[in-house]
């Protein structure tokens, strides 16, 4: 097809509208590649490195799904999308899966006709202040000037929070995160507010990160997760359970280091079912028996992916917080594999 694209374009031949009737899962298998939508660049979540390799937290979700379906974590075609093009790219079938730090909201799920397959990062709006300001809680910010991105939900959240606490603020509207960084450092505003992960990533790039503090208040819920088109439930199941497999793997102590050993068989039937040595879970999904084994081998379990891309040892330096396993007081809770 690709070879004749040039002619197809010139002659407008070969544009016979063949409806994509087959399911996405079959399409992906036939194509041998997963088309995965990612952001055009967000530190820690998705960005190509100096060699052009995509790296990041969302990227690893794509790789895990590709490994589960095709057995090869590199069989991914990354399609960079902006905030404006992401939903049309998914709805039009240009991509099979969108893993682009997208907040799971009612209207996106119901009105835009997408299915969120889970949450891979629980985010929320936070505040960053210079330590010199001597503020330890957002409730002490009465009369502060606040840098805020216009036209985002953060603007609304901010207004709600300050009104609920009966304190006043002065907004400094800005366009992009980069601009916000400059304005905040130049002292144009006392406080910068956006998603907590973004604040942490921004702070990491400062010359002296220790001079700035993130306040403890998180004033909104921003569950970020991968999503697929509404109505193709088989494909949605594949994506959902791949994500669940990564989360469950951490819970049961399956890591990229010991997975080969555990795949020989263990005393834990749940681990055996995940890794395909017991039961027929892979077959039910329409995948091979070692689908989850491949997915976890691709980049490790959820904890390993987190630690490698955005964890405390990286420049982004995010703590697990809400994104810890439910056994550790977090919100990650995979339904059982049985």
């Amino acid at each position: 097809m690709k070879k004749s694209v040039f002619f197809g374009a010139l002659t407008v031949a070969g544009i016979a509208a063949t409806a994509a009737a087959a399911g996405t899962l079959d399409d992906v298998k036939a194509r041998g590649k997963l088309n995965c939508g990612v952001t055009t660049g967000l530190a820690g979540f998705a960005a190509p490195d100096a060699n052009g390799e995509w790296k990041g937290f969302d990227v690893d979700v794509c790789r895990a799904v590709a490994a589960a379906v095709l057995g090869d974590p590199t069989a991914v075609e990354f399609v960079p999308t902006t905030g404006k093009t992401r939903f049309t790219a998914l709805a039009s079938g240009e991509i099979d899966l969108l893993a682009r730090n997208t907040t799971w909201t009612f209207s996106r799920d119901v009105d835009l006709k997408f299915d969120f397959v889970g949450v891979n990062y629980y985010d929320g709006q936070g505040f960053m202040v210079p330590k010199a300001l001597g503020v330890s809680s957002a409730k002490e910010l009465d009369g502060a000037t606040v840098c805020i991105q216009t036209g985002t939900t953060t603007e609304l959240n901010l207004a709600d929070f300050f009104r609920a606490n009966n304190i006043s603020y002065e907004p400094v509207p800005i366009e992009t995160n980069a601009e916000a960084q400059q304005q905040y450092l130049a002292g144009a505003c006392d406080v910068y507010t956006t998603d907590a992960s973004g604040l942490a990533a921004t702070r990491a790039t400062f010359e002296d990160p220790s001079a700035h503090a993130l306040l403890p208040e998180i004033i909104s819920k921003e569950p970020l997760g991968p999503l697929v088109r509404h109505g193709d439930n088989d494909w949605g199941d594949v994506a959902r359970w791949t994500l669940n497999a990564l989360i469950a793997a951490e819970e049961y102590g399956i890591t990229s280091a010991n997975i080969a050993e555990l795949a020989q068989g263990t005393n834990n039937p749940e681990v055996n079912r995940i890794l395909g040595t017991e039961g027929t879970l892979g077959e039910m999904l329409g995948l091979s028996a070692d689908w989850a084994n491949n997915a976890i081998s691709a980049g490790g379990n959820y904890g390993e992916i987190f630690a490698r891309n955005i964890g405390e040892s990286t420049p982004i330096g995010l703590a697990r917080g809400l994104n810890a396993q439910w056994t550790n007081g977090g919100l990650l809770y995979s339904p059982p594999f049985r």
């Binding site: 097809m1 190509p48 960079p80 999308t81 093009t85 079938g93 990286t314």
Partner: protein, 432 residues
């Protein structure tokens, strides 16, 4: 007279006193400075203020550039070396230059191919730009688009060959029938070209080798300044002939042609380029099935070409309107038919008048190609805003990257503008 007093005076000069050198203040650089910089009080004040302004600017910029660091792996390392001193972190350029120029997915072992295409561009453009060169060089110019396509995209060589054959076939048909009727030749040529391309669409997959000599690179992998250059060069060169056709069509006495041209020009000019790009990237995706969709770069090229040809059409229409009516009448009185009159009398004069306007559109268009970063294509600006600023190593480096981008664009745009000024001088045949 002097003879009479020759004995009464002790000394008589026989030659004039050599003129003394002018006073130190009235000569050389000192004079120039006095006259131009310190002529009077307001002048002196302005000079001092200007000098101070230059000092302030340079004292901020020079240390920044001179202290620049070129060989670290991340912004954090740069800051460590600088220890708080002023200094640029040019390491981002040394580490990511290939991404800025070629995009991050173009295979690095194939960089020679777009580079060669870029060098050949000068040879192809030279006979068009400088008409003193031998006309035979135009053959290479005609072949260049196909060579460049083959070099940049690679893949099977049959694609550019059949594309070339299509054009050749179309031209031969045109030449065969144009003597009978222009319309017959024109539409016959188009039909012949399309026939060849359609046939080639079926033949090429059969002929194509499994592993072509030039590895194929998908359009998605193009990026960086290469993408800006490709879009700029292709769209400007396509929009010139289309713009001329539209301008002539708008002046046509045939109502249908006139209506089509007017509607096209007014519609395209009334719509921002960015919306056209969104249509290309987003809306068209709904109309084509995912596997058969037209290449994104091609869609963008079509949209930008439409946009700029509408503008160029209006510029040329201005040139046409500026010609005195006598020129048209003179052409008619010589018994020239419409194509001859246009080709020999009207267009050479109209185009000459339009040069500044056309160059203006071309420069603007070239810079507008950076808008494609909004539809997630990684041109030079897209690379900077997306992948490079998002990488954990380089998040926070702004000045160095955007100055580099500005420098690249400035070099190209300044070159275009210098060429157009030369061209105007060269074509100045009117009597001044």
């Amino acid at each position: 007279m002097s003879d009479t007093h020759a004995e009464s005076v002790a000394f008589v000069r026989t030659e004039p006193v050599p003129s003394a050198p002018p006073p130190f203040q009235a000569t050389g650089p000192v004079k120039w400075i006095r006259e131009n910089l310190f002529a009077n009080v307001p002048n002196t004040i302005l000079t001092l203020v200007a000098l101070y302004a230059i000092y302030v600017v340079l004292s901020a910029i020079l240390p920044w550039i001179v202290n620049g660091i070129w060989n670290t792996d991340s912004l954090a390392e740069c800051r460590e070396i600088l220890q708080g001193a002023t200094g640029a972190c040019f390491s981002v350029l040394t580490e990511r230059w290939h991404q800025l120029l070629f995009g991050f997915t173009y295979p690095s072992e194939l960089y020679w191919r777009p580079t060669l295409a870029f060098v050949l561009l000068f040879f192809a453009a030279a006979p068009v730009l400088f008409f003193d060169l031998p006309r035979k060089l135009l053959i290479f110019t005609a072949l260049y688009p196909f060579i460049a396509y083959y070099l940049i995209w690679g893949g099977t060589i049959w694609v550019p060959i059949f594309a070339l054959l299509g054009f050749a076939g179309g031209y031969l048909t045109y030449a065969r029938f144009v003597t009978q009727s222009f319309a017959k030749g024109f539409f016959g040529g188009i039909a012949a070209a399309f026939l060849i391309w359609t046939l080639a669409g079926y033949i090429t997959p059969l002929l194509a080798a499994e592993n072509p000599a030039m590895a194929a690179v998908p359009s998605r992998d193009m990026g960086g300044f290469m993408l800006n250059m490709m879009l700029g060069v292709i769209c400007v060169s396509l929009s010139l002939p289309i713009g001329i056709a539209l301008a002539l069509g708008r002046q046509s006495s045939m109502p249908l042609i006139k209506l089509v041209c007017v509607v096209f020009i007014e519609f395209v000019r009334g719509v921002p380029l960015i919306t056209l790009l969104f249509v290309a990237s987003v809306v068209l995706a709904y109309f084509f099935p995912p596997e058969a969709s037209i290449d994104l770069i091609l869609r963008v090229i079509i949209m930008i070409t439409m946009f700029s040809s509408a503008y160029i059409a209006e510029v040329i229409r201005g040139g046409l309107a500026a010609l005195p009516k006598g020129q048209y009448e003179a052409a008619d009185s010589l018994g020239l038919d419409y194509p001859q009159a246009m080709r020999l009398i009207i267009l050479p004069q109209a185009l000459k008048i339009s040069i500044p306007g056309i160059v203006n559109v071309a420069v603007g268009l070239f810079k507008d190609t950076t808008l494609v970063s909004v539809i997630s294509m990684f041109d030079l600006v897209g690379m900077i805003r997306g992948p490079i600023l998002a990488s954990t190593e380089w998040n926070g480096v702004y000045w160095e990257l955007f100055m580099f981008a500005a420098l690249l664009f400035f070099v190209v745009c300044y070159g275009i503008s210098q060429y157009s000024q030369w061209l105007e001088r060269r074509l100045a045949t009117d009597h001044r």
